[in-house]
């Protein structure tokens, strides 16, 4: 297995045309995952791992892939079991039998899920895959892959690729591991431009925001929103670090609730 990094700000090849703005760095990462899977040979493995710390914009990137590539998307949580995983997959794939959600043994459910994944040829994205590792469901996903040979993208925290090495069989089906990138100054410029609220931000302020965000695109957008709101209230058309002064901003080291 090879490990790849997408260089910051450079979109992966084959991006869908017609987007109003160039995607963020981590959208380029998931685009690369989708296209690597679509391009794989008949004998190549079909699972991709995308990992990165919380707040790096992995889930927004997943939403992008879901919207633009008709990917099936499932977000796992701590309550997941083998049965609930399959029931939720049936729901995500929109399956029914006689107008009711499919019932049956987990084997029957798995066969139905795998058949639909195989036939529709749509990629499946499983977000927060760390829960599957904690709940010992890695081999369940492995089996669904083996039955369907579908393109599957697994998204999780930064320690996930190392944890997955424990399952040698599983590891052999992973085409590539991609790492989400920390938020860059270029990302900050794009986000500020996208808000387009008649307020231009100086590079020194954006650079400061990138530094205090410590890689988290979530933190950066929260701070951008705060600045734009203040700007709208004060009637600014330009803001730099000096003008912002020591007004509060969300810092990486401050413990926040509900993030």
């Amino acid at each position: 297995m090879t490990e790849n990094r997408v260089s910051g700000g450079v979109p992966a090849n084959g991006l869908p045309e017609g987007g109003q703005i160039a995607p963020l760095t981590n959208i380029a990462v998931i685009e690369q995952a989708i296209f690597q899977l679509a391009d794989r040979g008949a004998t190549d493995p079909g699972m991709m791992v995308v990992s990165g710390p919380s707040g790096y914009g992995k889930s927004v990137a997943a939403a992008w892939a879901k919207a633009r590539h008709r990917a099936y998307y499932l977000q796992l949580d701590d309550f997941v079991s083998k049965k609930s995983l399959l029931v939720q997959l049936c729901q995500v794939l929109g399956l029914s039998v006689d107008g009711k959600p499919p019932k049956g043994t987990i084997q029957q459910l798995a066969e139905r899920v795998a058949a639909q994944l195989h036939q529709s040829r749509r990629p499946l994205i499983i977000d927060e895959f760390d829960f599957a590792i904690d709940k010992n469901l890695v081999m369940a996903v492995f089996s669904i892959y083996e039955m369907s040979r579908a393109s599957i993208i697994l998204i999780g925290e930064e320690a996930m690729p190392a944890k997955l090495k424990r399952w040698e069989k599983f590891d052999g089906r992973v085409l590539d591991t991609l790492y989400a990138e920390p938020v860059s100054l270029e990302d900050a410029r794009r986000l500020a431009r996208a808000k387009n609220a008649g307020l231009t931000l100086a590079d020194d302020l954006l650079a400061h925001l990138v530094t205090i965000a410590k890689g988290s695109v979530r933190r950066l957008s929260n701070n951008l929103r705060k600045i734009f709101e203040t700007g709208a209230a004060e009637g600014w058309d330009h803001c730099d670090l000096a003008r912002w002064g020591d007004r509060p901003l969300q810092q990486a080291d401050v413990k926040r609730r509900g993030s």
Partner: protein, 222 residues
């Protein structure tokens, strides 16, 4: 044990074409060795309870797109009225035109719903960017879904254009796992294909309020 239905279908409300597609999948299922998997247009019509002209039209579209083929028999050569499934696309009926090209109408809505159910909070501008639709389209969709109770308003916006603050939305939890996109129809009502029902229409809330008032006033509601 009773026999499990062999063919899995799409959950929720079904169009005529969807029912025909499900009939095709059902009649192509050869796992019980009772059929050879070929079928007539009449078989499809009978099985799906869809009228013949609609079935014929859809079969023509599917043939053009390569989902169906003529059934061939060894001794008599190709038979021009029997069909077999050539490309099984899963539970969703392929949306194709008469010339076999894919139908693009509705893709924007599907993309928006896909993004809505995966995102945490969002504004219409962010949604437009992710789903690749016009900001006005996204704003309109969010507005209708908000009125139908499908989106929670996290923070109300105010003003428009530069200096205006956009509303922040979040998908209501009970609707977050619905795979198919609710749509705003031409009559400006919100239809949810997952439950096959009109879930919002203009004036319905006012009428309900008026009825509630009547009960309070002791008037008879018939």
């Amino acid at each position: 044990m009773s026999r499990q239905p062999a063919v899995v279908a799409l959950a929720g409300g079904k169009s005529a074409r969807q029912r025909v597609w499900e009939a095709i999948r059902l009649l192509s299922d050869v796992s019980d060795f009772l059929t050879d998997g070929s079928f007539l247009v009449d078989d499809l019509s009978r099985k799906s309870k869809v009228e013949l002209p609609i079935v014929r039209e859809y079969v023509r579209c599917l043939m053009a797109a390569g989902y169906l083929q003529w059934a061939s028999t060894d001794d008599r050569g190709p038979v021009k009225n029997r069909y077999v499934l050539a490309k099984n696309n899963g539970v969703e009926a392929p949306r194709v035109r008469r010339d076999g090209s894919p139908v693009t109408q509705g893709r924007g809505t599907e993309a928006m719903w896909g993004a809505i159910t995966a995102l945490d909070t969002f504004t219409h501008a962010e949604l437009a960017q992710i789903a690749n639709v016009k900001p006005a389209t996204a704003a309109n969709y969010c507005g209708f879904l908000g009125r139908a109770g499908y989106l929670d308003l996290v923070r109300a916006g105010h003003g428009t254009g530069r200096g205006g603050i956009a509303s922040v939305w979040r998908c209501a939890l009970v609707h977050k796992h619905k795979p198919r996109a609710p749509m705003v129809t031409r009559l400006k009502v919100v239809y949810d294909p997952n439950v096959h029902a009109i879930v919002w229409q203009p004036g319905a809330a006012d009428a309900a309020d008026a009825a509630a008032d009547q009960i309070d006033l002791g008037e008879v509601v018939e």
